[in-house]
Symmetry: D2
Subunit: 340 residues, 4 copies
């Protein structure tokens, strides 16, 4: 941590800060520049620095405290330089292959789910997605089928052999969701729902953590840290677009986040272009972008009749569109030596 004193800081104020830093266990290295005194503080336990830095910034004549170390540990590349993999049955996320997770936004009926599950399996998807509990901005929107939806997902797994990823929205139904699902998804609105993070940290199922709607990558990795610190190392991240001033797309899908996560962390990262753009017309192209930048997989919404979907039809692609997409993806994957 580097503490920058204000230009007008007195010797006594500088001493006070130095004393405080030593009390917190730091070794101090003051540098008396022409216009500013700067104090480098090294050697104390790093996880507390975010907190300590706030306190330091409250001391008189301190301009600001600059954190040098990352505010997360287990999620960092420094903790584990090689990539992590998450395994779900035969499916490996974060390895050499590229994993296609597909299915309806929301489970609506047995017919809708089974038709979609069979189709995406046939086209090459290896994980089935589908929501049983749906967070909705409006209390009047469809909120999902609940446990009935989970049962249908389990039935679809039974038939197709595809492991299932589905969202868990609150602590109270973690056990229930675990009973049916293979991967737990934490949605964008819950990225900083800390109790939920802590509780899924105790579970023996992989977790996919979506990026918060306006979360910095650093905050996202700190959210992952909550889960890993709790004991669950099987964490993967999912970029799903961030909120900007642009209104033509539902969100702005930050493809470079895949690269940022690679530079900072060992965790697998997948991309959700359905939520990320909100427009089915954009989904196939953004899938290809995710593939070529090196994402570990995709989460794609597919619906047999998007115009009849109870939720998010505008961003779901049809089954034929998914089949075409898989063929086009295969060509690119093959060209870049990636296994789809």
């Amino acid at each position: 941590m580097i503490i920058v004193m204000q230009a007008e800081a007195t010797a006594a104020q500088i001493s006070e800060v130095e004393g405080a830093l030593q009390t917190w266990g730091y070794e101090i290295h003051p540098i008396y520049g022409v216009e500013r005194t700067v104090i480098a503080a090294v050697g104390a336990p790093t996880q507390d620095e975010a907190r300590v830095s706030e306190q330091v910034e409250s001391l008189p004549a301190v301009e600001r405290a600059v954190l040098i170390l990352k505010p997360y540990r287990f999620a960092s590349k420094e903790y584990r330089p090689e990539k992590s993999v998450v395994k779900v049955g035969d499916v490996v996320i974060g390895g050499e292959g590229f994993v296609m997770m597909a299915g309806p936004c929301t489970v609506e009926s047995e017919e809708q789910l089974m038709e979609t599950a069979r189709a995406v399996k046939a086209a090459g998807a290896t994980v089935l997605r589908g929501g049983a509990y749906k967070p909705s901005t409006s209390p009047y929107s469809f909120q999902g089928m609940g446990e009935d939806g989970l049962k249908l997902l389990a039935q679809a797994r039974e038939e197709t052999g595809l492991p299932v990823i589905t969202e868990v929205m609150h602590v109270g139904n973690i056990d229930l969701v675990c009973k049916y699902a293979d991967i737990l998804q934490i949605g964008t609105r819950n990225m900083q729902n800390y109790d939920l993070l802590i509780e899924v940290g105790k579970v023996k199922k992989p977790v996919m953590l979506k990026r918060g709607m306006s979360s910095k990558i650093e905050e996202w990795l700190q959210a992952a840290e909550y889960i890993i610190k709790g004991g669950n190392e099987a964490v993967m991240l999912c970029e799903r677009g961030v909120r900007t001033f642009e209104t033509y797309t539902r969100n702005t899908l930050d493809i470079s986040a895949v690269l940022a996560v690679r530079e900072l962390s060992h965790l697998p990262i997948v991309v959700d272009p359905s939520q990320g753009t909100g427009k089915s017309s954009m989904v196939p192209a953004m899938c290809k972008a995710a593939l070529v930048v090196g994402a570990d997989g995709l989460l794609v919404e597919v619906h047999p009749n998007p115009e009849k979907a109870l939720k998010d039809g505008a961003q779901s692609i049809t089954i034929p569109a998914f089949q075409t997409l898989m063929q086009e993806m295969a060509v690119i994957a093959s060209a870049i030596g990636k296994k789809l």
Copy 2:
């Protein structure tokens, strides 16, 4: 709802959309313009429009669906044109007066809380704030004292007579928090934690709903709608800054949100300049801004020793600063005919 067809829409596609709208219960009014056909759809239940509009946008040749009605009902000014008031003992929020809620960001010790409580009471605050459960970006930050903190808050109320507002972070401890608190606070990260909203909708305590970090005012009112629809009408809103590209302040405190809420809703609205700016140097001035634009109150972090605070010291003002603030606020309040 207005449906805008694409320029190249065929007569058959227009008919299909018209048919679908009638199936959903709408009366339709097509307008065949020179460059576009537009279909006005009126008369169907309004709460479902958000969902229906998504489905309409998935139909072939539809460019977009424009919602005319507000996507919330109970929270709207149209539902209740006059302002609502929330009562907590003798304190009235949303009435003629201006309510000062003050106290430490986080309860740290009996001494810290009691000293602050006595001081803010003496200076004129009428509600005591203090966190027992603290959401933190880092899992290594101080997470609050939990029930011990709640007990101290109750003790402070006992002595000072100030009703207590404190955050409830998850469904599992609503009952516990209700046992000690007078007003439940939903934090910015939980504004779209729908299970929490639904559950506090069943409680017989007032709820203060903070604006999500990157929430539009419309989404904020939809979140309030969850609570009111659940049966709890004692909802007040709290503007606490939104996330922007600016880094000098912690957030960008949107003072105009007070006015927007007044134009759209009957719910009381208070302002939190401590979270909103992240800088104690800015808190007093922003308190005055909130007062003159017509907010119903403030939520201010006060700490006996901000530089020793376990959390958010940089945004807490000292007790003397709070005393000065109250005097300065009183002068302005008196000038504008508001009772502090």
Copy 3:
């Protein structure tokens, strides 16, 4: 245009709005719904609607005016459904091929420029980029070599045969830049410098218009409209990242903007991953993303010694990195049937 009246609008107020619309030349279609009156206004000249809608919104009891038609004409896909191409000598931008524009951020010396120009040409670039006038946030940063830089660019074209793209920063040096350059670039900070747009609209050189740092796609197309309306149809767009709350990358490169432009306009679109990410480590992957989503080309900063660059070294890739990139791009281009 659709005018939404307030719920409490009186018959007289509705009549007043109807009258005003007719005065502006609209044919009106009022729809009297249960909760609202909505007036559809059709048939008047569309280009003025942005202005008229502002005036309508100032009338009593008007809630809002919703524009149905696009606020640009010549830049729209409706005006020209097929893609436009921009030709510069043998280079065609917007056609079947994919155009690589590469070179230093800023021209620094004959040696630096010539070395880079030869190398990018050898590796397959077909346009040479290089700044002679550099907009800089700080007045103390390097501002470019000016006309000497332009002369060096012309010399590099002479030797390599590569046409030159360079930025024009103000009206006063359009003539000078035109003397040396083949394509004029309008930078992000000048996207809404209307005098500059109007003046380059009079020039007989292609123009590349970068997206403003926080510009919506609609505003970007309106800026292009200024140029085309002025008489210069040889306009191409360049996505270069938008400003968000994320600080790890310099900007957030909006890859989906390529798709949005395709859906709304006929203009060619290229991508600048160097400015878009600010990180050389991310440039190659983002180049590939731009290729697979269907951009018409790229603008890439290449420097023989990025760590010695006078400007933006952190986002420039080395010559060997560019060579590798071109080989990798060729593989993908070939797989998707695109000619590099």
Copy 4:
């Protein structure tokens, strides 16, 4: 400047960075921590640091360079600790008083301007605002009356005695605008139009620099630095709202920017709530907020018939509303000891 080396930096890489820093004229203080080496670099000319830091970040094994000193000098509070004042005739901006600048968004006719000028003068305004050249997102919007508008402004000054502020949009008409105006306004879209900044730096008229739509306060002060460095010290700033995801208001007016500017700079700062909110209903309240947080003045759009305004009618207040506002402002100003 503090250079943070990557965790895996070798001794040779650290030496290379140290050598480079010494070449640039820095005295170096390396600190070898447990997990990182950090190098403090002091003593070199500070204005170049932004540029040098970019180059340092391009060196191998450098994680990042942290600037300690402000990237502007003449605009900083450290350069001039006491507040600056800008004088225009008898009007002092930045002194003890609070300056009301009011008038139409755009000059439309003699009648409209004179009526407004007389009314705002009578109500207590001391500067007349009005646009003769108007930047417009759409090329089809009204672009202002040009020199005829300037002449009318001069005529209004003649009659009312109010000095005139008006926008200068490009270098080519600085002389013309100077002939008629007392204060030159640089609009939000031109905040980083560097040629314009450089040229108004040579002029002997005060300049009001509006904040860029998505500009950080630091960048805004760097833009002001361009003008002051050019020789014109009579610079004042104008907060006019920033772009966020919120769509209910036209911009998000950042009232805390007034405080930020006070903490960082000596320059006067005024607030424009008309552009800042885009809603006349919000203007009066936001004016009061600007007053109580300590702004030096306001820029308010007033129109005799907002619904007939050729531009921005929705954000213009009527003459009676302005009169009421001035009375209400006077009460508050008097309460806080400020002279209106």
